[in-house]
Amino acid sequence: MQASNPLPLTSLGVSTAPAIHAHGLVKRFGSTLALDGLDLDVEEGTLLALLGPNGAGKTTAVRIFTTLLKPDEGHASVAGFDVVKEAERLKSSIGLAGQEAAIDEYLTGRENLEMMGRLYHLSGRDARRRAAELLEQFDLVAAADRVAKTYSGGMRRRLDLGASLIVLPPVLFLDEPTTGLDPRSRRQMWDVIALLVTEGTTVLLTTQYLEEADELAHRIAVVDAGRVIAEGTADELKTRIGGDRIEVAVARDADLVRAEEIVRRHVGGQATFDPTQRRFSGGSRDGAGELSALVRDLDAASVGIEDLQLRRPSLDDVFLTLTGRQAEDVSDEKPRKRRWRRS
């Protein structure tokens, strides 16, 4: 992946310590256990996606790695520096684009970047040049001298990401960098992130979208209730939950019993049933083939089909399969507002 790029520093030496390491992190807020023994390793030059629902502890973990919070128990290090004992030195090696855009609304895009450059201790001239470069790279030239208050959500995110790249630290933390972006802006953001990783930056990215993790991550860690409940490559996780999802809604209540028996034959053991919509769903190991077989069998049993889908697994599916817990119905809520609860 990085054959043509400068080798990451530690790969020149003997050290193969992960760029980001956490062991047994615990963090409590009053009676809330935000992190409950989180373990994590991210190899240098790779991107790990921390995937989990609202309240899983993603932001808390990022805040500990970036020295904004102290863990109650456990330890963590970034770029070889302990997050508690060597916090000051660690800061020169990291960049953070937090969940909320960290920009000053009353400054222009250019002023924001120049200010951050100065605070990274670039000289005035370098700060100005770097700001101009980043504005160019992030397609903000036209808006550069407008106050950030007037920026759209996507523009703010881009400016915010730009600000975290001023000196391009070796380790980058991106907390839900694409939440709230339209598909085009999201795609652009993905391109930038992918390029950064190709060039050797280690990235820890949190997301609620499996699709995003799938697109960008070398490895995915699924977090829930403050701990990592599964870790692996996208393929490994998808295989674990049974590949693509088949969903079929039956037209008549009378057919339900027959339908269930047929569906169980074709989808994995984790099939679920939603009675209000008479909808079955489950994993399919063989995608389209499985689907057409299912349709044939349902037809042969003259079960009326109201709706039929083959779709990529969502975070909901991953989560449901891994924890056996039911997600709250979220159909008419925006993704960022999703809440999960224990069944």
Binding site: A102, R118, D126, V192, T201
Partner: protein, 283 residues
């Protein structure tokens, strides 16, 4: 984007932080960067422009013409008595900008970013208080001009005028640090606003700002006389030579007390605010 960025890392690698500077130099430079930010905000937020430039003019005119006829001060002109007091009151309230600005920062992601930068953490506070100093100086200059237009005259030497202004700015800086501690402690902009104002009313009204302390009930005089607002206002009156009731000894004593107040407030509130800010840093 648009055109996909190429060589992000190579581009960034051209920029190296400046290394050779002491911690103190960085603390000061970082503070100046953030002071500039705060001053830019001032000119872009209309309500702040009103607070900094318009309200003080109104105050001067209202007190000069509404109370000016009714209030008699021994041996002098009320406008001459009033102006130094109103300067002190204005800069005391001016510090609230620091408190509100910090409370706002603390609620937003931007403080998280500052905290992950290799910058001096005290600069977030110092930047605000220095900006307040600049704003207050600007406000006082406007008030001086308006004051001269409505009859305010000072009589001392240039040196004592400048000393008076220096005291005023020292007082302004000290009070900004009190507001800073309030701003980072209260947790919301609204609370920083009300918490910033509420204690200033008794302090500035139960003082020599508008009327001589000797006209107040005895039980209040003790407080009003030693209150830093009175002390600084009196010192300025003495230095500007606008209050015939003040002897040279009175002035000297007021100047010394002012310096003591300023030093005491800074000694307590600067370390307290910075420690408090750092503590919230570490969750």
């Amino acid at each position: 984007m648009g055109t996909a960025p190429t060589g992000v890392r190579a581009a960034a690698a051209r920029y190296r932080p400046v290394q050779r500077r002491s911690r103190f130099a960085w603390a000061l430079l970082d503070a100046m960067v953030l002071a500039r930010r705060s001053l830019l905000q001032t000119v872009r937020i209309p309500s702040l422009i009103v607070f900094v430039a318009i309200q003080p003019i109104m105050f001067v005119l209202l007190f000069r013409y509404v109370f000016g006829g009714a209030i008699r001060v021994p041996g002098g002109q009320y406008v001459n008595y009033l102006m130094p007091g109103i300067f002190v009151q204005t800069v005391a309230f001016g510090g609230i900008t620091t408190g509100i600005g910090l409370a706002e920062d603390m609620q937003k992601g931007i403080v998280d970013r500052f905290r992950t930068l290799p910058m001096s953490s005290s600069a977030v506070l110092t930047g605000r208080t220095i900006a307040d100093l600049g704003r207050n100086l600007f406000t006082v200059i406007i008030m001086l001009i308006v004051g001269f237009a409505v009859g305010f005259r000072i009589q001392g030497s240039v040196l004592s005028f400048l000393s008076g202004m220096l005291l005023l700015m020292g007082f302004s800086f000290a009070f900004s640090w009190i507001a800073a501690l309030i701003g980072i402690s209260v947790g919301s902009v609204e609370a920083a606003q009300s918490g910033g104002f509420i204690w200033l009313f008794p302090l500035t009204f139960a003082s020599s700002v508008f009327v001589p302390v000797s006209t107040m009930p005895v039980w209040l005089q003790g407080f009003a006389e030693h209150n830093p607002v009175s002390v600084v206002a009196n010192a300025m009156r003495g230095l500007f030579n606008v209050d015939p009731s003040l002897t040279a000894a009175d002035t000297r004593s007021a100047v010394i007390q002012s310096v003591a107040w300023i030093a005491a407030i800074l000694l307590v509130f600067v370390p307290l605010s910075i420690a408090r800010y750092r503590r919230t840093t570490r969750g």
